[in-house]
Symmetry: C2
Subunit: 150 residues, 2 copies
């Protein structure tokens, strides 16, 4: 729970994240879930704005990497490098995204690369589902892990 | 100018877009430019939040398709279907994104497909540049054009 509290404290420093009311709702050590209310994220058609979907997903992936680094005591800056997003269905409910490291990633290798070079990269998969569990959007994104204040 | 006024009126109905203070700033019939102030779009590092970058870019592409349809009197719903985003450099300035149809697209073909089938798709390229003209992020996105209220 302390992990998520720290993440929400970071979110509170970001005006667009505050406006979209994004918060961490679950973390089991592997999978990080973020949530945001539909009311703060509507488009002109009464469903979730595509930019909000991808904001929540991008932040879920970012938070997943940040928590993974904190768990091993590494101080680093995390930036999203690139992403692929698929929007599968309109969402008329609150936004809920779940992020985990991509299946092909080995976190130990990612960390070793960072320790050796002061920089590393990791792929994260994020899915957004409605209350029935149907996937409405997916993101595959690569995050850069950089030493210090670049 | 009436085109951009109509677009800003649509933006005003979307709470996250209002919060990010995104507005249409230029449209020459081919290229649509949107802007948003950095202050409303900061991350924890004092530069632009990745979710805001992609929100502005996604909305620029969406607006470009909406204006293209309005110019020929077609009423349709436009949804983003998928996107690829590259984040090239942190942005410490106001956000400015420029969207145009992808070079390989033929707008006449896109419109004919919509008229025949009631649905169509179009690729849009979006770039975000800083004040010096350096590209800090790019997006290639596909938008679905659907008949009526699907």
């Amino acid at each position: 729970m302390t992990d998520m509290t720290a993440l929400d404290a970071l979110f509170a420093t970001m005006p667009p994240v505050v406006a979209m009311q994004i918060r961490a709702s679950h973390f089991d050590g592997e999978r990080l879930q973020l949530e945001a209310p539909l009311s703060a994220n509507l488009n002109d058609k009464g469903c979730a704005f595509g930019g909000s979907l991808v904001s929540v997903m991008t932040l879920a992936g970012w938070g997943r990497v940040v928590l993974g680094l904190e768990a091993v005591g590494i101080k680093a800056e995390v930036y999203v490098a690139d992403s692929q997003v698929r929007y599968l269905a309109p969402l008329f409910e609150d936004l809920r995204a779940s992020a985990s490291l991509a299946a092909e990633e080995d976190w130990g290798v990612v960390l070793n690369r960072f320790r050796e070079r002061g920089r590393s990269r990791v792929m994260v998969d994020v899915a957004m589902a409605d209350a029935s569990g149907r996937i409405v959007a997916t993101m595959s994104a690569r995050y850069a892990i950089l030493n210090g204040h670049e």
